[in-house]
Amino acid sequence: MIPELGHFALIVALALALAQVAIAFTGARTGNSALLATVRPAAIGQFVFVAGAFAALAYCFVTSDFSVLNVTQHSNSKLPVNYRFAATWGSHEGSILLWALMLATWTFLVAAVSRSLPERFVARVLGVMGLVSVGFLLFILITSNPFERLLPAAAEGEDLNPLLQDPGMVIHPPMLYMGYVGFSVAFAFSIAALLEGRLDAAWARWSRPWTLAAWCFLTVGICLGSAWAYYTLGWGGWWFWDPVENASFMPWLVGTALIHSLAVTEKRGTFRSWTVLLAIMAFSLSLVGTFLVRSGVLTSVHAFATDPRRGIFILLFLVLVVGGSLTLFAWRAPRVGLGSGFGAVSRESMLLANNVLLAVAMSAVLLGTLYPLFLDALGMGKISVGSPYFDAVFVPLMAPAIFLMAVGPVASWKRAALPELWVRLRWALGVSVVAALAVPFMRGKVTPMIVFGIWLGFWVITATCAQVIQRLHGSPQPTLGGKIAAQSRSWYGMVLAHLGIAIFILGVTLVKGYETERDLRMSPGDRVTLAGFDFAFKGTKQLPGPNYSVVQGEFEVSRGGKPERVLYPEKRTYPVSGQTMTWAAIDTGVTRDIYVSLGEPVGDGAWGVRVYHKPFVDWIWAGCFVMALGGLFALSDRRYRLRKQVTEAATPAAASASA
């Protein structure tokens, strides 16, 4: 009964989404206030029914209803309850439903929060979001019904892929999807603005908080995925340039360009067409990512789908969305105007350079991700593009972008003078160069890449500090507290996010430059020394687990004869699927991780063992979280919240009421 109710709720949601689109566009064209007043209820109703369908599927999973095919294929009654719940989005059907739920949630939020915006504009925004929703709900109902019954019901489920039985599975996909789908709001705002023919500062200000929110979710989502890969795959890597990772990284790159471009459009009125184009690109890349991961064109840990109908549907949808919005762009953008000009050295020019670099980096990732698929589709052979390509391309493209990132906020709008920039930043440059030379010498290994990476990280930190000092110094407030309080949260957000990038760069440089690893054969009683740590292998023992059996190794880690920590890496076997999983044991520290994982038994009680020492690896994720925190700060800026009162004060009625 519950699955049928869920299926029915999806159909109702589709009807409501169609109604939402029809009412919104008719209302926006005619200005009929009765119609315009119905758009929000339709959007909220759509959200309620999609959420109901999702709840029905989650209920089937949690109660292990094996008469539902999807549950049978991706869950098991012995699975702990949190993973039974997370298994809701562990399948292709479930994750597309999660996508639709996220879209409905964003639609609901736009409908609920945007009461101060012009009615016709909001109607167009909700209309565009409704169109996207129609596409996805149709996709679910036609090709990927998650509620399909299995008759007769199975006695037991086939289990969730062991790789997905992890706390990361509970939180990573919702965060990532929230980010992916969040760009649909910026997209809808842009399309609505193109339809109205008004791309002004107000439009940019309305779009900014939504774009920032989506960007924060995406940043955290990617970061969690990276951390998850680090500790579960047992390889100790944190980024593999796997197509699935690239699929989430491309919208991030464009989204990062977009939040900066929006800032320029709001403050200066320039870059309007470029901003719209970025908004279209960010959402299109989210759809490309969905296509890559969901259509089964890739085969990797995340790709569970094999049905070609699905791929064709998403591809058609993609062509419609991208083609339609680019056509609209080509038709309307020339009328939008260019805004004021700016000098060759100015904050605008640096932001533009960074935008272009981010876009080129995204294209490079796109090439490396799609080219092998094209060749394969054309029957021209199978190739793969390995991480050396991405590494070789990314460093030279991102290095100038990061250099400029530190200079841009110090430069003035419109026209900046190089001598003045030099005066403002010479101390920052000096300190960063000294640090870049001192740190590698202290650690005892100096290579050009390490020096360069550390310099870049410190350059961002010192230039940002210089900017903070000069900004506070220039504040008219008499006290330091007053000076600090006088700055806007969006400025603090930027400072934090830029510092996050610096922390990230330092983490990447230090771990790439100074990590040590050994793969070796160890028998019980063997010892190995790595980066000053002494690892003694005590042996293994069998243990029971909740829905798997465990072979647990014991390693005593000591340093200079003093015991430091005992690590217990595991090899888990899941009897239902017959799969084995490596569970690395990691001792996390601020300045280093120690990482031990068991390979396989190699005879006579000996094991293949992988031992790592990874300095500063946690800074990579810490940097991402600081970036997202910066985004949150910027999001909470007063001018986004004050908007409502300002608009009200502008109307005569409200003005007289407050007088």
Binding site: L397, D519, Q579, G599, E600, G603, G608
Partner: protein, 155 residues
């Protein structure tokens, strides 16, 4: 400079910078492409000798031999028509099994053995690595069901 000359200079500089970036990207792309070959193609000397490539197929049952005191392992990869000996030093992925699909990256040495630098496991148990499935198909043995370890009900 007049504004017009200035704008022209800016555009030329922008296009030049973009050209350099594109050249850089394409060059890196070209030198990092890894091609795939089936065991039959490797046996027929169609694979390059100086450049790394990928080989895919099944791990021949009973072919896995481990060194006594190191992490070196030897096995044979087959597409059911021809087999290629492979040697690898390191920890094998969890999904490596005899009789199952495998993809390895490395180069062929003068002894005719494929020296793998990497054994890949970017597939889950339900699916054959696409390269391995391709190798079997080209050898005229399209995917044998038993090669899909833990193949699930729906097919």
């Amino acid at each position: 400079m007049r504004p017009r000359t200035k704008r022209a200079v800016a555009i030329v500089a922008g296009v030049a910078a973009l050209g350099v970036a594109v050249a850089l990207v394409l060059n890196a792309f070209n030198s990092n492409l890894v091609f795939f070959f089936t065991p039959t193609e490797v046996a027929d000397h169609k694979a390059p000798s100086g450049r790394p490539f990928r080989i895919g197929g099944l791990v021949e049952a009973g072919s896995v031999v481990r060194d006594k005191d190191a992490l070196t392992v030897r096995f044979r990869v087959t597409d059911t028509a021809r087999t290629i000996p492979v040697v690898y030093t390191g920890i094998l992925p969890d999904l490596f099994r005899e009789g199952k699909g495998v993809v390895a990256q490395g180069r062929i040495e003068s002894d005719g053995t494929f020296h793998a630098s990497e054994v890949l496991a970017k597939h889950d148990e339900n699916y054959m690595p696409p390269e391995a499935a391709e190798a079997l198909k080209r050898a005229g043995h399209p995917i044998d069901k038993s090669a899909f370890a833990g193949q699930k009900g729906k097919s």
